[in-house]
Every structure is written in C-alpha cells, then in structure tokens.
Amino acid sequence: MMRFLLLFSRQGKLRLQKWFTPMSEREKKKIIRDMTTMVLARQPRSCNFLHWKDLKVIYKRYASLYFCLAIENQENELIALEVIHRYVELLDKYFGNVCELDIIFNFEKAYFILDEFLIGGEIQETSKQMVNRSIEASDMLQETMEEYMSKPAF
C-alpha cells in the first residue's frame, strides 16, 4: 500500500499532504523535511526511486511541482510512478492545464480528486473517465443542489 503522498514546490513549499496511515504531527513534519531535502537534492536525470527507511520513495517532477509517493517495500515502483502520472492527468483534466496555482487556490479540490482515486493507500478507480465523472458529478450535484435548494421561500 501507499503510505503517503506529498506535493511540494522546487522551493520546498508543501502544497498537498496525504497520509494513509495515522501519524503524529511531529512525525509528519519530520517526514516532510526529510522528503523535501532528499528529493530536491537529486541530480537531474536520476532514477525516480529512492530507498528511505523501510519504504520506497517514488518521486517525479511536473513543471514546478514535485510529486513524492512513499510505498511499502514489496510494492511495484513503476506502477507507483504511473499512479502519480494518473493523478496529474486527473488534476489536469479537472483544472484544464493544471498548474501549481490551481492546487494552491483550490487545494480542497485536489484532495477531493485524490479521494476519488485513492483510498486508504490503495487504488479505488483507475479509469480517468470514472474518476472524472464522479468529480464532475459532485461538482454538478453541489451546484444543482445549491440552486435547487436556494429558491426563495414562498
């Protein structure tokens, strides 16, 4: 299973943190620090995998953002790399040419999209259409419900 996913910028600013196992705030802060220093120090064209404690860390850079996913030791690195890519595709489909700013200003949406894709550190749905359908349906449902419910009283 996946243990956590972090998104941070080239300057090391954290943009999204998802923890799939319970962890104290102190532990989280330490991991965030370790991950950012470790990943940001990597040379260009290095491989996308690192060993860290008893976990494998899979990271990939998209434009100004690093996506950093920690998986358990027996898990498959390549497929984890594509988990990251699929998430980027989902963000891209939702935001349309997603950029770091989209994730900063709509952080909650980035979390919602992630929840549709992964739950408890496992993949829930790999189909882009299905994930997007439920995200868009949620968006739609929300707007519709708001409009549906917000007619002035009579």
Binding site: K60, I79, Q124, K151
Partner: protein, 973 residues
C-alpha cells in the same frame, strides 16, 4: 484576486490565500493568520447563526491554515455541523476537515459517527462514498467499532452502486488493518472473493487490494481466489489493447489490476490444479513475450505500465522458484534492462536481479552479468543505482567470484557516497569472511577496509576480525605482521590502532624475531599513537601494554615507566587511571607465573553468528542478508541471532545516515513536465443524453429540437377558438376535463339528457379512448352526430381518428347507450385539447354540445425510475431558463400525503423517493413519448402546509412541455 478559483469559488478563501502568498515574511504571515483566526472565532461565537456557505468557507480557511503548518484548536464543532448539511460541498468540506484534523475527542467522535451513519443509510451514493472515504481516512478504533459490521453488508449487497462498492472495499481494508479483530469476514468470504469476477473493472481493482490483504492473513479461507485471479489475469493479458476501454492505460490493458492480480498470486504457492497452473504459465509467458515486442507508443507511460506488469510477473516467477525455464527467461530479460537507456529500468533490473540471484535455478545466469554490474557500480551517475549495483554484487557473490567482487567493492569504497559507505563496509566484511579461502586475504581485506573507510568501520567489523584471528592460529602471525606494517603509516585510523593494539598484544611475539619489529619497536609504534586516541582506545592500549610485559619481559621497565607517569596514574578518566594503577601494581607484585596465567592468550571465541551479519540485517531488514547464505554458508540464514555482543552503541549507529543526501547534488533537477493530453469532451451533448432510456431515436430528435423550438411561436392560448364554437365551452366543461389529467376513466359530462363516460388507455405515443353516450331520457335522440376536431395548430400535433365500433347510429334510443372509439396518436407535444362536438335532436330542439376531450400531454408519459444522483444530473442538464417552468399557487384540494401521491402517480410519472433532501417534497420523473421525439420531464412539488400553498417546478427537455405541464398541474392540487 487571481481568477484561478474553480467550481464554486469561495471568494473569501481565495482572497485570504492570496494575502498569505503576498506576505513578505514569516512574521507577516503569522500576523495575517492570527487576524483571520480572530475573525473566524468571532464569527463562530457570534449571535447570528451562520449560513451553511459561510460556515463552509470558514472551516475551509481553518483547514488551509492548518495545512500551512499552524495549530488549529477550534472549528471542529462547525465542521461536524457541516456533515449533516444537505449541500454536497458543505458536507464535503466538513468531511475533509474531519479527515485531516481528526481529534480523539470522544464527544465529537460520537457526533461524527452519527453523521456518517446517516450518510451510509441515505442510499445517496455520493453521500455514502463521502462517508466511506472519511472512515477510511480516519480509520480509528472507534469508527471500526461503529462500522466494521455494516460495511461488509454494503460491499456485497446486490443493489449497491459500483462506486460505493469500490469505496466500501477499501474502507473495509483500512479498518481491517487497524482493527483486524473487529472485521469478521466469515459469512462474507466467498462473496468478497467473487468480486474478482465483477463486471466492473473498477470494482475488481478496489476489491483486489482487500482480497490480497485478507489472503495474506487467512490464506486457507481465501484459497479459491487463486483460480479466479488466474482466469481474470488471463482474460486481461490476452485482450487487445483497446478491449478494456478506459481501463487501458497508454495501450496497456488494465496495468494496475494486472499488477495486483500478480501480487495476489504471490500470497500462494503455485496452483495445484494442472489446468490453472498451465493457464498461469501461459500468462507469464505471454507477458515475457510482450516485453520483446516493439512498443505500441513512444510515451514513457506506455513502457512503464508494460514493464510494471513484467516486473511483477518476474516477482511471481521468483516467488514460485519452480520453473527453471521462466526463471532463466526472466534473468535474460533483466539482463537486457541492465543496459537500457532508462535509468529507472537499470535500477529496477539491478534490484530484481538481487532476488533472482538467490534462486538456485538462476544464480548462475545472474552471475554472467557480473561485468555489467561492476561497470554500473563504477559509472552510474545516480547514487541510488550504484547502491543497487553494490547490492547485486553482494547477492551474486560466491566462492568463484568473491575475490573479484570484494576487490571491486573495496575500490568503489574509496569514492563511494557517504550515505552508503557504512553498508558497503559491512558487506565487504561479510563477503571477505564468508568466502575467505585463506585468511590472510581476509585480514588484508579488513585492514584495507579500515584504511579506506575507517570512519565507517563499525565496532562489529573490527571485533569480528579479532575473533577470527584469535580462533585461527594459521593467520595470527600474518595478522601481526600486516597490522604492524599498517601502523607504520604516519596517519592511521583509530580503528587500525585498536586492531593493532589487540593483535600485537596477543601475537606480537610471532613477529618479534625480526629486528625491524622487535618488542620495543612494536611498543614504541603503538605508543606513538596513544596520545591521539580516544579514551576507549587508550584503555585498550593499556591492556595491550600489560600483555607486552608478559610476552616480552625486556619491555617491562619501559612500560612500567609509562604507566607510572602522571598522565596515566593520575588521569582524570577513572577507567584509565584504574587500569594504569592496577596494571602497574600487577606488573610489580605478581610473579612471572602468575602474570603468565593472568595474561594468558585469549581463549578462542565460541563459533557464533557474525555480529556484522546481524547488524546488516538490522539495517536492511530480513531478506537482504540471507542472500549470500545461498550456498556453503556456515550458518542458517533464518536463525541469525543478534550477536552485537559488545557494542552498546551499535543500534544508534546502525540507525545513522543511510539517507543523508549527497551534499554535492545540485538543486536544479530539470525534467520537463510530461505533456498532458486533454481529451476533448464532446460539447453540446447535454440534451442528447438527458434520458438514456430515450433510445436511438432520441439524439437526432434532440438535435432537431433546438432549431425547431426557435422557430416555434411562443405558445399562446388560441383565443379565436372559442368564438368559432357555436356553444362556448363553459367552465363546468373545462373543470370536468381537468379532472382527467390524473385519471383515465370516468364521467366526462352529464346533464339531464345525456351522460358521456370515457375510458382510455395509452401506450407510448398512442392512445385509445372509448366514449360512451348514454341517453338518460325515455325519448330517443335523433340525428345524433359526433365530430372531433383539432382546432388550429393542433391538427399537426395530434392525430385523432374517431371511428365507431358500429356504423354510426344516428339514433339513440331512450335509456340506451352507444359507444365510440377514438384512436389518438401524439405527433408532437401540444397544449390544446381536441374538441368533441355533439349534435342531436331531442324533442324537436337541436342540441349542440362542444366539449374538450381530456387528452393532455401527460397521457403520453412513461414513468422513469432513477437514483437521486441521476436525478440531479438530469436536473442540472435541464438548466436553461426556458426549460424550467414554475408556479406558486394556493392549495385547492386536500394536502394529504396519500392523495397527493395518488395524483402524482396518476399523472403517469414515476414518483421518486429519497431524492429531495426535504422529505416533505415530491419529486417525479418521466418521458413524454411523441411520434418524433421523446421529452424528458422532471417535476418537483413543494407543499407548504402552513400557508396552504404549493410551489411546482417543471424541467423538461422541451420548453413548451414545461409550460404546458405546469399549467395543467397547477390546477390539480
């Protein structure tokens, strides 16, 4: 404010976020945050009740602040309140807040669980999924206690939506991991296993994670999953790259599911059933074959997905370790990857070969790649890859290549990254000991290790070399000679001094014959290092000195002088002082015999597990170490007991810097973003699939609809109609036709002379109406004629053919009844009713009646059942202003629930439960069938009992229908 906010942008939130971004310093940021916190606190505490939107906005701001790394100590209650909101986004933000900031506050947990319980039983799939995500995200014991028995039910229930099943499977997995005692699969086991057969690939993908975890824990109960997994895998592997539609990822069919299936199979030994096994071997062969095929795409995603499956298949082959043919093929495949231009593949090939090296079938095949691996160790730019190469060298090492591998590793050590030096040292030390044919080579190697990487030589390593030298007398002389030479170096590592002190103290006599290493020379050499050493080393040297006194009586005076000197005998360190005093006394008092007994040569150490191996094991976890035990190991890999007998700080050291980044790395790792294809979504499809049941005719109809509607005059009451009538249609007649909106049979008209009854039935866009004319008098009606006319435009909208079952009877006897049948076809929607004109003579007077026939558009309704989710989706799709018609009106009839329900059902639509968040309201859906098109209609009726009012809202795919239905129905309630 930047215009980057999407969906229901919360303006206040966006402003706040950009304020934070504009803060020039950490202090400014904290100030801004504190201001915001004060504001939110006052809003939450204020007298004015906050509306849902504001609550959502503030909770979202708090969440943002928390995610920035600041503490949040309030707002939990407001977030919990949002959970019970009916508005999706409010609920969603509430759940997000709870998931991120879960608090063990028991009072809150109870409230949260309550909200979750409500959502789970709401039967609204979106709400259910939110609740399940929350349980999975929090995964606390309390939640497990509350829901562990409910979720399996949701998972296997026949009527659960696929998306809910997916969430439920993973939610259950999460609870199982936190509280396995609370998740009792028992009766559900076989149904859960059979989810592997589910038609929906998403359900299988989610369920397989659960099944894999359960299989690991209860392999016997889940054994049936093996054959199911094999057949599923076989279907995927043999499918064409487009068969699985959206589950195909860059031309690779279902890569995630394939990997998961292969991993599930790794929980079990090879299938016993020959047929299943044959099928599986076939799959594995196909996967290996596909690796040789030219890629279907140049995108890295394609090769990654394909190779992910390949590596997982190789893992399974290694796990079975029973198919020599497959193992060798796997090894050859990995051999190709060793020289691949993709760094990732080289890395993974090295890693995967490590495990392959441990199989007796493939060990030799792995060994053939030694040159490539050594080359990787020397030339790879990436330290992680070099490390994997070092691991593989370690794994493939055996007696035949040990010297070469150890030499390569030693020379790599000179330039190795600091982060991996300690581990490298351990590995070299282990290999050197394990494959030492002559122990002089071993001693040389260890001393080399100390020379090259002294700082990284842990205590275990030098303890071990001493143990071995002491236990093997054939190497003692050589060891003494070598260490003596090593100590000649002007700067030598403290670890070298330790080893040297110990060995010379024991075996210095073996080289004392050579004048170049006479006792005094040896002593002076050791003592020249003394002052540069730390306390423990000095203590060790003092012990060596007293041993010298025993070995070489001629050194006694010199050494006693050293011991006697103030810096020893009055040393501030207690240990050193004590040793100096005691050794001095011992050397002065004891007789030669006593001295020889006390300072006898150390007895051999009991043969035991190398403490180094134990240490490496601790560092890397089991498995990593047992590899070289493959052959001729002196010990059983599985029975290693931690032999770190003397190093109190070994644990602290082993936890050290395996992950320190290389300081030389530069920060500008440029890698351009992968191009992301935004698949164009076909626009304008809103109308087309409003009703999926609409069938193939619908799309074209809907497309025409648009243009057609634009040409249409706004529907108006054809006011000219009534003037054409000889007898104006008076209100009672109108009222009577109204009664038939919601029913099909009854008395249409009655006066003293005549009663007209009708019976009608409708199917699709066709209807048949039976008209019964009854003469209530005892006198016959003469010249009885009836005509049906469709005034004005209606002619083109409705086709009605009146035909009598019998030839038209111009005479209706007194007390008799005649019957006519009217066939009706709805061509397109209409708002006026056809007119029935009846003429007859009664007692000489000409009677002329004009009636509206109760044919209304709603008669052509087909009811449509749908879920709340679908309802709102369609509601949304019908959001053009003209598509909605609304009326607010006073109740004219009973507002009783049952009466209202009967009326709504009579209307011809489906009455939908559990759609409207307000249970007082009624929601209906149906499709109106006309010849040319189908019109989807949604209806919502909101009664207000207090005011005795209704609000009726109609949304139809055709504007005119909305208007007409709204008019018709407003008169019904």
């Amino acid at each position: 404010m930047p215009a980057v906010s999407k969906g229901d942008g919360m303006r206040g939130l966006a402003v706040f976020i950009s304020d934070i971004r504009n803060c020039k310093s950490k202090e400014a940021e904290i100030k801004r945050i504190n201001k915001e916190l004060a504001n939110i606190r006052s809003k939450f505490k204020g007298d004015k009740a906050l509306d849902g939107y504001s609550k959502k906005k503030y909770v979202c701001k708090l969440l943002f602040i928390f995610l920035l790394g600041h503490d949040i100590d309030f707002g939990h209650m407001e977030a919990v309140n949002l959970l019970s909101s009916n508005k999706y986004t409010e609920k969603q933000i509430g759940y997000l807040f709870i998931s991120v900031l879960v608090n063990s506050n028991s009072e809150l947990i109870r409230l949260i669980n309550n909200a979750i319980k409500n959502d789970l039983s709401s039967r609204n799939p979106t709400f259910m999924c939110l609740a399940l995500h929350c349980i999975a995200n929090v995964g606390s014991r309390e939640m497990a206690e509350a829901f562990a028995s409910e979720i399996p039910r949701i998972l296997v229930a026949g009527d659960t939506m696929d998306s809910v099943k997916q969430s439920a499977a993973l939610c259950l997995l999460r609870l199982y991991k936190t509280s396995p005692d609370l998740v009792l699969m028992g009766e559900w086991t076989s149904r859960v296993v059979h989810l592997l057969n589910d038609q929906h690939m998403g359900v299988v993908t989610a369920a397989i994670s659960l099944i894999t975890c359960l299989s690991q824990k209860n392999p016997d109960e889940f054994k049936t999953c093996v054959s199911l997994a094999v057949s599923r895998l076989s279907r995927i592997v043999s499918s064409a790259s487009t068969d699985l539609q959206d589950y195909t990822y860059y031309f690779v069919p279902a890569p995630w599911l394939s990997c998961k299936l292969l991993r599930l199979l790794q929980c079990y030994p090879p299938p016993e059933d020959g047929a299943v096994k044959g099928r599986l071997v076939e799959c594995l062969e196909t996967i290996l074959n596909k690796a040789q095929e030219p890629p279907k795409s140049k995108k890295v995603q394609h090769s990654n997905a394909k190779n992910a499956i390949l590596f997982e298949a190789i893992s399974l082959i290694i796990h079975y370790d029973s198919e020599p043919n497959l193992l060798v093929r796997a090894c050859n495949q990995l051999g190709q990857f060793l020289q691949h231009r993709e760094t990732n593949l080289r890395y993974l090939a090295l890693e995967s070969m490590c495990t392959l090296a441990s199989s007796e079938f493939s060990h030799e095949a792995v060994k053939t790649h030694i040159e490539t691996v050594i080359n990787a160790l020397k030339t790879e730019r990436d330290v992680s890859v070099r490390q994997r190469a070092a691991d593989l060298l370690y794994a493939m090492c055996d007696r035949s290549n040990a010297k070469q591998i150890v030499a390569e590793m030693l020379s790599y050590l000179e330039t190795a990254d600091y982060s991996i030096r300690e581990e490298m040292v351990l590995k070299v030390a282990i290999l050197a000991e394990k494959y030492a044919v002559d122990y002089s080579w071993y001693v040389d190697t260890i001393l080399n290790l100390i020379r090259i990487a002294g700082d990284y030589v842990s205590e275990e390593v030098w303890y071990r070399v001493i143990q071995i030298v002491i236990n093997r007398d054939d190497v003692q002389g050589y060891a003494a000679k070598t260490v003596f030479e090593a100590l000649q170096a002007p700067a030598c590592h403290e670890n070298m001094v330790k080893v040297g002190g110990y060995i010379l103290g024991e075996f210095g006599n073996l080289i004392a014959g050579d004048p170049r290493s006479s006792p005094l020379v040896q002593f002076n050499l050791l003592h020249s290092k003394f002052h540069l050493c730390s306390v423990p080393t000095r203590a060790l040297l003092l012990s060596a000195y007293i041993k010298f006194i025993n070995l070489f009586p001629e050194t006694k005076a010199t050494i006693q002088e050293v011991l006697r000197c103030d810096s020893q005998i009055r040393n501030s360190d207690v240990e050193l002082q004590q040793r100096a005093v005691e050794y001095l006394k011992l050397s002065s008092i004891a007789s030669t015999d006593v001295l020889a007994t006390v300072l006898e040569e150390m007895p051999p150490f009991p043969e035991r597990e190398s403490s180094i191996l134990a240490k490496l094991k601790k560092k890397k976890g089991p498995g990593a170490v047992s590899v070289p035990d493959l052959e001729d190991g002196k010990r059983e890999g599985g029975e290693l007991n931690g032999g770190g007998e003397r190093g109190p700080d070994s644990a602290a050291m082993s936890a050290s810097n395996a992950s320190t980044p290389s300081p030389s790395a530069d920060l500008l790792g440029m890698r351009s973003a992968a191009p992301m294809s935004a698949a164009p979504t076909s626009a304008g499809s809103l109308l087309v699939d409003v009703f999926s049941e609409a069938g193939p005719a619908a799309p074209s109809a809907a497309v025409n609809d648009d243009g057609f509607l634009r040409d249409l005059e706004p529907p108006t009451e054809t006011s000219g109609l009534s003037s054409e009538l000889q007898t104006p249609v008076d209100s009672p007649f109108n009222a009577s036709s109204r009664r038939f909106v919601c029913k099909n049979n009854g008395v249409l008209f009655e006066n003293q002379l005549l009663q007209i009854g009708i019976k009608s039935e409708y199917r699709q866009n066709l209807g048949r109406m039976y008209l019964f004319y009854g003469n209530k008098t005892s006198v016959q009606f003469a010249s009885f004629t009836t005509t049906v006319s469709c005034p004005g435009e209606l002619q083109s909208h409705i086709l009605s053919i009146l035909r009598a079952t019998k030839p038209v009877e111009p005479v209706v006897e007194g007390g008799a009844q005649i019957q006519q049948v009217l066939n009706i076809e709805c061509l397109t929607d209409f708002s006026e009713a056809p007119l029935l004109n009846i003429k007859f003579r009664y007692g000489g007077a000409l009677q002329n009646l004009s009636l509206k026939l109760p044919v209304t558009i709603n008669k052509f309704f087909q009811p449509t059942e749908m879920t709340s989710h679908d309802f709102f989706q369609r509601w949304k799709q019908l959001s053009q202003p003209q598509q909605e018609a609304q009326k607010i009106f006073k109740a004219n009839h009973s507002m009783d629930t049952e009466v209202l329900k009967a009326k709504l059902l009579g209307l011809g639509t489906a009455l939908l439960d559990d759609v409207d968040p307000n249970p007082e309201n009624y929601v209906c859906a149906g499709v109106i069938q006309t010849k040319g098109q189908q019109v989807g209609c949604l209806l919502r009726l909101e009664p207000n009992g207090q005011a005795q009012m209704y609000r009726l809202t109609l949304r139809c795919s055709k504007d005119s229908v909305s208007l007409r239905l709204c008019e018709l129905l407003a008169q019904q309630f």
